[in-house]
Amino acid sequence: MKRRWAFLLRRLGFYLAAAAAAIGLNFLLPRLMPGDPSSAIVEELERVSGQQVPAETLMSIRAIFGNPSDNLAQQFVDYLQQLSHFDLGVSVVNFPVPVADLVWQALPWTLLLVGTTTVVAFAIGTLLGVIAGWKAGSRFDAVLTPLTTFLSSVPYFWVALLALWVFGFILGWTPLSGGYDADLAQGFSFAYAVSVLHHGVLPAATIVFSAFGGWLLGMRNMTVTTVREDYVLLAQAKGLSTARVMFRYAARNAMLPSFTGFAMALGGVVGGALLTEIVFSYPGIGYLLYEALQKRDYPMMQGVFLLITLAVLLANLVADLAYVVLDPRIRERG
């Protein structure tokens, strides 16, 4: 018990250090690059208006986006102070909307779409993988496994575009873009929920379609080796039902490596599915990042990157903790 707590504390310390490093890098990287948001805005203003920006305008721009001539330590302290109020700065493109607000709006869409599909793809892939690996070489395995290998090597954007073209454009079953019907008021109404589902089903289907194969192959291969273990043989000798031997003995052990990948994938959910959100113009974090990249919205990028980094770290921490529960042997090794 004591050892288990020591293990958890050690992991927690590691992740705090990693988070600190991430915040530091996130602060430093944009400042190491040539140019800064204030100058970019000033240049843009001068280009549009064709005349010099007045001194007081320059001052207020620098007050909002930071003064590049301040010393770095002072900037870092300011940055940390901002972060402590969840202030990620102001978006350049959507001036003067705070980055935090934009992220906050986009986050639920991404969590809903990418979170659900990640879980569903993992569940389907793992289940089929266990069945394929349980009787390696059976007809089920011989057909499904090569087919999946093929499907998961098809580039995702192509799958997404094809699906959009067939189901959205030719058949007209699903909307061509967006996350909801813009004519409906946002809120918890039935019509709104239906429109969200209607918009989400195609992007979700393409993600699941492209992602389940990886889980299937990993799980199948682990199951093939686990099935040869003595404890599976003994479970069969005990006369337990096939389902019990298959899931409680074989799959339960075979899924341990898959589980790490799953936890990482959950961390990646926050980053959104960049290609999906671009192809389907889905109002999530990925689309936000895409817009920010296109328009060089540095505060936006910085905010999204920080969010993604922290989410991945958090997912890793959760994976570590869950692993302690899933594999009792880990507790000893730390």
Binding site: E229, D230, Y231, L234, A237, K238, R329
Partner: protein, 340 residues
């Protein structure tokens, strides 16, 4: 001292010396791309209720193949091609070879249990020890409550000298000896009539080995199950088994009581095995090994499989294969009409 006289190892219902297992002509092939490899060839023996039959042989002699065939745990490419395994259980006699999967499942653990070689590998690493008892107890006794099953698991562990609080441990938290005893207790969970043991003491030190063997003998006396005990260690069997079968190249070459097998081995291979370890309580004897190595089963020698290594071979041994007659398969001991 763990040797004891064979007592009245009898369960009242079935009478003395009744047969629990009779194996006839059991043949197991490994199907390969080329010709099938015969790992068990025409194996026949009977096992009485409460008896311990030891099966000894070198690596590759077909011991493990025999075990997986007996318990119907074999996996492709191993296939039982001939023979029958008649099992006379409490509920009647069945042929294990032809039993359907569901009939077999009903018989498993309640009548037919197994102890595997390495308990570390045989116990599920992510399940508590107790849970691995509970699932088998409850799957064969639907009326058994969860709480009672856990209590029964503690009780079974107590039977092999493991304290009750260990029931909630994971396998890696137990020592090697404890794990091995736990898997013996596990095998006895549903009161089997036959327990097949595959070198259950190979992975533990000699002190633990003695303790485990003593426990097997004591439990056998108390519970009256029969044992097929497979090992490469003949000296161990001499102290444990009532009868011993010696396997060579997939065949039983000699089967006899432990005492006469040791005092008077008839097959040259048995004698070679006996003479390759020092006696514990008899006068010192010159040790000798068996020259050469076991045959390649993909290409077994003609005649008696042992003849290339046999010190006593004579004319015809490389052509005629001796059958198991009167407990020995050797032409030295067979009159003309018994030869194949």
């Amino acid at each position: 001292m763990i040797t004891e006289p064979a007592p009245g190892l009898v369960t009242a219902a079935t009478g003395p010396n009744s047969t629990v297992l009779s194996v006839r002509g059991l043949t197991v092939d490994y199907l390969t791309d080329g010709a099938p490899v015969r790992a068990c060839d025409d194996v026949s023996f009977t096992l009485r209720r409460g008896e311990i039959l030891g099966v000894a042989g070198e690596s590759g002699s077909g011991k493990s193949t025999l075990i997986t065939a007996l318990t119907r745990l074999q996996r492709p490419p191993a296939v039982t091609t001939e023979g029958s395994i008649e099992f006379h259980s409490r509920d009647g006699s069945v042929d294990l070879v032809s039993l359907s999967a569901s009939e077999l499942r009903a018989l498993r653990w309640t009548s037919l249990a197994i102890v595997l070689q390495s308990a570390m590998d045989a116990l599920n690493p992510v399940m508590r020890i107790g849970a691995q008892f509970v699932d088998v107890l409850r799957s064969h006794d639907k009326g058994l409550g969860r709480k009672d099953a856990w209590a029964r698991a503690s009780e079974l562990l107590g039977m092999v000298g493991i304290s009750a609080d260990r029931v909630r441990s994971y396998p890696h938290e137990l020592s090697g000896g404890m794990r091995q005893r736990a898997s013996i207790a596990l095998a006895l969970a549903c009161g089997p009539e036959l327990v097949v043991m595959d070198e259950p003491t190979t992975a533990v030190d000699v002190v633990m080995q003695r303790q485990i063997l003593a426990q097997v003998l004591r439990l056998r006396r108390e519970l009256g199950f029969s044992v097929v005990f497979v090992t490469h260690d003949l000296s161990l069997l001499l102290e444990l088994a009532d009868r011993i079968a010696i396997m060579y190249a997939g065949r039983i070459v000699e089967i006899d009581t432990a005492h006469s097998l040791y005092a008077n081995p008839r097959h040259p291979y048995t004698r070679g095995l006996r003479d390759s370890f020092p006696p514990l309580r008899s006068p010192l004897r010159r040790l000798s090994g068996i020259p050469g190595s076991p045959p390649d089963l993909r290409n077994p020698p003609a005649g008696c499989a042992f003849h290339p290594r046999c010190p006593d071979r004579f004319e015809g041994c490389d052509q005629e294969r001796p059958l198991l007659v009167d407990g020995v398969a050797c032409r030295l001991h067979q009159s003309g009409e018994n030869r194949a």
